[in-house]
Symmetry: C2
Subunit: 415 residues, 2 copies
């Protein structure tokens, strides 16, 4: 039986030979140093040597991804697959990131380097993965089928807890399934988490008592200090809350791992900060690789922007991200609920549905599109549901809007 390996695909860009660069990376990340050493025997190498499995050439570039003062182009490119023995890495994410990612970014002679994918062997299935994922999210929200319609508190920062609770009441009455704190809201002086919980949870409970619908509210519990984050988590749980927003990059692998092991909440991940890792196509890391790590760490719901998002991300990148989230790593249970968001108001529902494999296993999150609807937030939610009904039925939005005035108003304002 061949040894189990971790296989990493790198997009390498260099004025030199990409194949030689792949070999250098494999050597540097196992036993290499800058001079020959007496102890580097064949036996030592065999124990943990990384191996170049495949190099697939790509067209060269005239302009390097990282500026090259010596102007030594053209810049040759290839996708190189390097395998690392599981024995050398184990199953710790810190080891994986250090050996297969961190060190590679430092190599001299590169003008571009991007981690395209990380394939993990079965031993990695031991990671906890999502506690709730798609099915658990549906269960907690009481939405057995169809898209989960969600909104966010607006304005995103600056409201006092009582003001926020007022917005929560409005959104509950408008008929959303899920509400979240803006990811930038954690526990500032003017809206301490404890006060926000005390103001908001009675509104959620009251609405549940009156309507039978228990809206999921995700509180911003992130802290760089895991002890503080756990206290935040425990406060939410004790008050009957079911979810939390976690800024995964800001808390780091350690924060996420610590939280997941102790969590009773559905963990809604914001990947805030990720953009700098991915927006230059020749540098950093594809979302495909990135999201695997965070899923294994326990993300239940993953914000991935949407069609015509208000940020830099092109639609194709969002579509790839959606499919990445829907692809099992080891099993269906490790799939998070994709959260389609940013500038969403329903107008993107048909295209989203068509381009993401015609699934309704998603959360569709509108901020301004609901709060700013000309007929009010309830109409904003109705318009969003109408847009998804159109998508499901294969009707175009304009046609559907003829018999649905809320959608018509959305199309007029946001379309």
């Amino acid at each position: 039986m061949p040894q189990e390996t971790v296989r990493v695909t790198y997009r390498i860009e260099t004025a030199g030979d990409p194949e030689a660069m792949a070999a250098k990376i494999a050597s540097d990340q196992s036993t290499g140093t800058f001079t020959d050493l007496p102890g580097e025997t064949e036996e030592v190498r065999a124990r943990c040597a990384a191996r170049v499995e495949e190099v697939r050439p790509l067209p060269p570039l005239d302009v390097p991804s990282i500026p090259d003062p010596e102007d030594t182009g053209p810049y040759n490119r290839a996708d190189a697959v390097i395998s690392y023995p599981l024995e050398a890495i184990g199953t710790d994410i810190a080891a994986l990131m250090t050996i297969t990612v961190g060190g590679v970014y430092a190599a001299r002679g590169l003008t571009g380097i991007r981690v395209m994918d990380i394939e993990l062997p079965p031993a990695w299935a031991a990671h906890p993965g999502p506690q709730f994922g798609i099915e658990g999210s549906r269960r907690l929200m009481g939405v057995p089928d169809g898209p989960m319609i969600a909104s966010i508190i607006k304005p995103s920062l600056g409201l006092l807890p009582e003001e926020t609770a007022g917005v929560v009441r409005t959104l509950c009455e408008a008929g959303v399934d899920f509400i979240k704190d803006d990811e930038k809201l954690m526990s500032p002086a003017y809206s301490a988490l404890e006060d926000r919980i005390a103001a908001i949870m009675p509104v959620i409970e009251d609405h549940a008592d009156r309507s039978g619908k228990r809206v999921m509210y995700a509180f911003g519990i992130s802290s760089a200090d895991p002890d503080v984050m756990m206290r935040n988590h425990d406060m939410v749980l004790a008050a009957g809350g079911t979810a939390a927003v976690v800024n995964i990059n800001s808390i780091g692998h350690g924060g996420m791992s610590f939280l997941r092991k102790r969590s009773g909440l559905c963990l809604h991940a914001h990947r805030n900060g990720w953009d700098i890792l991915t927006r230059h196509p020749g540098l950093g890391m594809e979302f495909r690789a990135y999201q695997k790590i965070w899923r294994l760490l326990g993300v239940d719901q993953f914000q991935i922007n949407g069609i015509r998002a208000k940020y830099w991300e092109p639609d194709e990148s969002f579509v790839r991200s959606f499919h990445d989230c829907m692809t099992p790593i080891f099993s269906d249970a490790d799939r998070p609920l994709p959260v389609v968001c940013s500038g969403q108001w329903g107008g993107q529902a048909v295209e989203t549905y068509e381009r993401t494999g015609r699934t309704l296993d998603l959360m569709y999150l509108g901020g301004g599109g609901i709060h700013g609807h000309p007929m009010g937030p309830a109409a904003g939610v109705a318009a969003t549901r109408q847009a998804w009904a159109a998508a499901r039925e294969g009707t175009d939005l304009a046609t559907h809007a003829r018999t649905h005035p809320e959608l018509a108003a959305s199309l007029e304002k946001f379309g």
Copy 2:
């Protein structure tokens, strides 16, 4: 009294107007969304609005940092200083990173964005900072003055614990002050941390008993799971160890925060992975900003490469990093020991000394330069100390080597 603020300097690059982009960033990171909202009153804005303090134009670029398919250059640049009210951010590093860094990286219309510096108000002095720092490192190593001469286990991966212990014995006898695991070595199957501690610590103790010199050994304790990392920490401490290598990006802010609060070890930071955040000059983050966060979190010793490092980093970048580490954030006690490393063999001592402010408060770490010395590791250490003596005395290395055969041999092999 003016409100306390966090001031962040961004290098903005855009085909549009950098000043308008700075205003957009300030708005997005406080209350903005893509459409007007009823709740965004003046009062809400005042509570947490970020403000553009200053915009300093820079020469435009013809080639954008991030490829621009629409080729809309030239690409205008400016350094913009934006202040954020402390009331909105508080003192949590997750809030700081989310609000002032993460969100900014996502803005549409940028072709480049780099965080140049983060200035923190006095309230942030409450973070723990280094437990040992420069003075504590000297005390634990018993090196009251002069540079601390250090080495690393080579080959970096693949040795069994007993083989590693053999290398440790050699290095102790060679006269180093400090030895570390390669940052890529944590607890793989062939060299579990527990076994490595059991093999190495008796060598350290035996050497201390015989020579009176207790060499500091930094064990790789990193884990993405803080519970595992603490068990690793506790094993090292219980065995009499004094230091640990931590891969700060791989464990994340949460891991570091958790460890520091409970640590009895001197924390030697490897910034593995940082390179992708900084090697493109138009993107990511300057080390100046980055290192402040990790110092506040508790880094005692900070690896920052060196002159003529084997990685991509230019010498000027290393020199800036050194000065950054030596600059107090709030007090001298928050300065980590700078660890000068990568391809170092003594030949860079004079230039290092001259360009870093003629200080000897540093660790100088040689791997191949010591292990690969033609007269053996003891001669490698001697040559390194001789090089630093030359630097201190203002003698050039060639002259000093005439009366110091070890240095002469180094110059011949590595020079």
